[in-house]
């Protein structure tokens, strides 16, 4: 179909944006990943990934992101459910409280968590009064706390938005057919909110896999995540765009695979009629 001038001029900015900031960088990444310092084609960058402890770094990153995502989900789901039960006024207030941390720079929130979790931080000072002391900073646990805090709103919002969109008549219909509050939750609300859960996981898991700053500050560099590793090849003393690009490429492939697996479970054309969870 031939498009009119008006139609072209409307979509033009989007096309230019996509080419400049999505397609071009992807091509650059592919180019760097498969070339050596002299510009010749090579698989060396990709094969180098399977040497040293790079595989372990990948596994660590995926595991940590998975744990943080699951914790986000466990906190966010009941929170979103409770939100939908509030009066419209309180729903707005709670949404605002949830969003405010997003408006602060995440460097600041990360630094705040450092001062909270430090051996001489707020928690340990309070625990010290009763003669206790827990080492928290520079552990994987501290990194998970930081990640959960940063990304929790991105999990709550899509779940809340899908949940509050559930037709109240469906709830009444299930009560009418004998469902108790618990059964309404498990048989109606839960299956109908799966799309929200899926998009929440997508919005939280992906950035968590490639997170880098939080792990440096709260993990104290005691262990490396893939985000930190990639960063080190673009800014550190051992700059190597080619290997950094290869790492990024593999990370992207891994994320695409995980998303594919996830979307398979959220197939809207699920004709069996039974929710898959």
């Amino acid at each position: 179909m031939k498009r009119s001038l008006a139609q072209r001029s409307v979509i033009a900015p989007h096309v230019v944006w996509s080419v400049l900031f999505i397609i071009a960088p992807l091509l650059f990444m592919l180019f760097y990943a498969f070339t050596g310092p002299d510009g010749s084609f090579t698989f060396e960058n990709v094969s180098r990934l399977f040497t040293g402890n790079y595989v372990l770094i990948f596994v660590n990153s995926l595991c940590l992101a998975l744990i943080a995502t699951v914790i986000c989900l466990i906190i966010a789901y009941p929170l979103a459910y409770v939100f939908t039960k509030l009066t419209p006024k309180w729903q707005k207030i709670c949404m605002l409280l949830l969003m405010i941390p997003l408006w602060m720079n995440f460097l600041i929130t990360t630094y705040s968590w450092m001062t909270i979790l430090e051996d001489t931080g707020i928690i340990n000072t309070i625990l010290g009064k009763i003669g206790l002391s827990v080492h928290m900073i520079n552990t994987p646990g501290a990194v998970v706390v930081g990640m959960v805090f940063c990304y929790l709103p991105y999990m709550v919002l899509p779940i809340y938005s899908v949940m509050s969109g559930i037709d109240h008549k469906l709830i009444e219909a299930s009560q009418d057919l004998g469902a108790s509050s618990r059964q309404v939750l498990t048989k109606v609300v839960l299956p109908l909110s799966v799309p929200g859960v899926i998009s929440g996981i997508t919005m939280v898991f992906v950035p968590q896999v490639s997170t880098f700053y939080i792990s440096q500050k709260l993990g104290g560099g005691t262990f490396q995540l893939i985000g930190d590793t990639i960063e080190s090849y673009f800014t550190g003393v051992s700059v190597n765009y080619h290997f950094g690009a290869a790492l990024s490429l593999i990370l992207m492939v891994l994320i695409i695979i995980s998303m594919g697996v996830m979307n398979h479970f959220a197939d809207p054309e699920d004709v069996t009629g039974r929710p898959m969870l």
């Binding site: 219909a173 299930s174 009418d176 057919l177 004998g178 108790s180 048989k187 039974r274």
Partner: protein
């Protein structure tokens, strides 16, 4: 019909935001009857239904079911099931699982679920649709799934909230018959909410006419039509000429400037009354032989009959006739004594005049039919 009381509402009042939507409702529903709550949008009929279903609690008053007060019984423990206005089918389940929902909730064995779902789908003519996704069904099919889903629970009472409102006319007629048949076959008490008076008259054993949070009349369809309790009921059910009159004595009513013989009695002498004359009860005769004479101002062909508007002393009457008369002609009318229905004056009397705003009224009515009731 059996005369066993199944549901009783006693002095039910309900307000939303200071606005009273139910004003002291008393209603008795008998076992096995098909009862219809009929009234315009916002009259409180849906709220009344939701009280019985357990989705609304009355501010004051009592809901009784089979000899027990059930005000405190939550919806999921009541022996009633509901067919919701827009079906409210579960979009994540297929036809089979939608119908089986209630049985799964009370943990019915799988063989029984399978047998009863099959029976139900046969009852509503949806055999073979088990695996279909509900979102792929037509409105009429979704409606039948909703009915099957409620009926499979073998409720004592089935509540239906404008169940046919979203269907086109032809389908609605078919579904009316089907619903009536299902009710007869299963013997379940139906409480049916609608604003469509034809639907109410053709399906029900008992019609309850409501307006502005009050019950105006309860009776058999034929009584509601022939003996409306007041001007509102007369106007809402069918077409009617509502004329101011004075009861001269028993069997004599004065209206439009002369006395007519009628069959009503028991009013005081000289009492002002509303007189209803149905358009189909008026005969057109030559002007010189008429009880009253007037000029034809409008003739509309309706298919089976003509609707004729006649100006008699500045009061516009509607007459339904199969004989053609031409616009502008002088005609006489003749009314049998039993065609006069005399009612005492009520708070509704002043609202209804003649047919001078007839065409406007039609527009209003056709607008209203597509409207959803927001209560």
């Amino acid at each position: 019909m059996e005369n066993r009381k199944l549901i009783e509402l006693k002095g039910i009042c309900k307000s939303y935001d200071g606005e009273q939507v139910l004003k002291n409702i008393d209603l008795t529903v008998y076992d096995n009857e098909f009862m219809t709550l009929l009234g315009p949008s916002g009259c409180g009929k849906t709220t009344t239904l939701r009280m019985i279903g357990g989705f609304e609690a009355p501010d004051s008053g009592e809901v009784w079911f089979d000899g027990k007060m059930i005000n405190e019984v939550p919806a999921y423990k009541r022996q009633v099931n509901t067919v919701f206005q827009r079906y409210a089918l579960f979009p994540h389940l297929n036809v089979y699982e939608n119908v089986a929902f209630g049985l799964r909730i009370n943990k019915t064995p799988e063989e029984e679920v399978s047998r009863r779902v099959k029976e139900m789908l046969q009852l509503v003519n949806l055999a073979g649709f088990e695996k279909r996704h509900v979102t792929t069904l037509s409105g009429g099919q979704q409606q039948r799934v909703a009915i099957a889903r409620a009926l499979i629970m073998k409720p004592r009472v089935l509540l239906l909230d404008e169940p046919l409102g979203a269907l086109d006319l032809k389908l609605r007629k078919d579904m009316q018959n089907e619903l009536k048949n299902i009710q007869k076959r299963t013997g379940i008490t139906f409480i049916y909410v609608t604003h469509d008076q034809e639907e109410a008259l053709s399906m029900s054993d008992t019609v309850v006419v409501m307006n502005a949070g009050q019950i105006l009349q309860v009776g058999r369809p034929i009584d509601i039509y022939n003996e409306p309790a007041n001007a509102f009921v007369a106007d809402f059910i069918g077409e009617s000429n509502i004329v101011d009159g004075i009861m001269k004595e028993d069997y004599v009513v004065n209206l439009a400037g002369r006395d007519f013989p009628c069959v009503d009695k028991g009013f005081e002498k000289g009492q002002p009354v509303d007189v209803v004359i149905r358009p189909e009860d008026i005969d057109i005769v030559p002007a010189e032989k008429g009880m009253l004479t007037g000029k034809v101002t409008q003739v509309t062909f309706m298919g089976v009959h003509y609707e004729v508007i006649v100006d008699i002393n500045d009061f516009l009457w509607m007459i339904q006739t199969t004989d053609f008369v031409s616009e502008g002609s002088e005609i006489g009318i003749y009314i049998e004594p039993d065609a006069f229905h005399v009612m005492p004056k009520s708070e509704w009397s002043e609202i209804f005049g003649d047919y001078s705003s007839y065409s406007m009224e039609h527009d209003l009515l056709s607008e209203n039919t597509g409207e959803e009731e927001e209560e």
